[in-house]
Symmetry: C2
Subunit: 134 residues, 2 copies
Amino acid sequence: MKILGIEHIGIAVKDIANDAPFWRHILNISHRSTEVVADQGVTTDIYDTGQGKVELLEATGPDTPIGKYLEKRGPGVHHVCFEVDNITEAIKELKESNIQVLSDKPTVGAEGFKVVFIHPKSTGGVLVELAEKP
Amino acid sequence: MKILGIEHIGIAVKDIANDAPFWRHILNISHRSTEVVADQGVTTDIYDTGQGKVELLEATGPDTPIGKYLEKRGPGVHHVCFEVDNITEAIKELKESNIQVLSDKPTVGAEGFKVVFIHPKSTGGVLVELAEKP
């Protein structure tokens, strides 16, 4: 597997409208898109530094992965996403190394990337996403 | 202020020896350096994807910023660092916008970068570091 770089940092926020101005107007990072990923129950608001994106994640309801995370941990970094050259190959390698991958096949995430998540137990405490460009 | 990219993600770990193999051998990210930053009470173990680094942070003792973080929150993403073109200018702009900056002047962090931290209260829950290349 070849890691090509940090694709984005996913940040769980209570309210995009309230938190976005820091990223957009204070840090002045260019806004890229806002997208609802319905099957994940999340609204993603994406900013692109040109070298790694910031993805603000707002839950569409309390009974969603981000809703539960906010309830348990409060707002903060939810996951870190690395771009890979070939996600199918990456999943195969990870499973061979007994790394706990959350699905056997990639799913489609924001911006059409093919993605998979690695359990924090296998990484030292961080929810890691791997993503292959569409 | 101009954000040039995600410089690194700082990850608080209990034990570098135990957690480093995932980043170094499983994800296969190139190891760059290991450095003790004495005045922060931290050992940093740095991996470079070529587009953003991963910085594993192990406390040198319990009464250090990372030691206290681990006690309170457990292992996970401790901070996100963005590279800026001019840190002195960035601090001035942030203070003018009433953003809570943790020091008035930059300090010297790992790899000789001039750095400053922004309080999570001002960012929506994330400890943000800004860094200017030495």
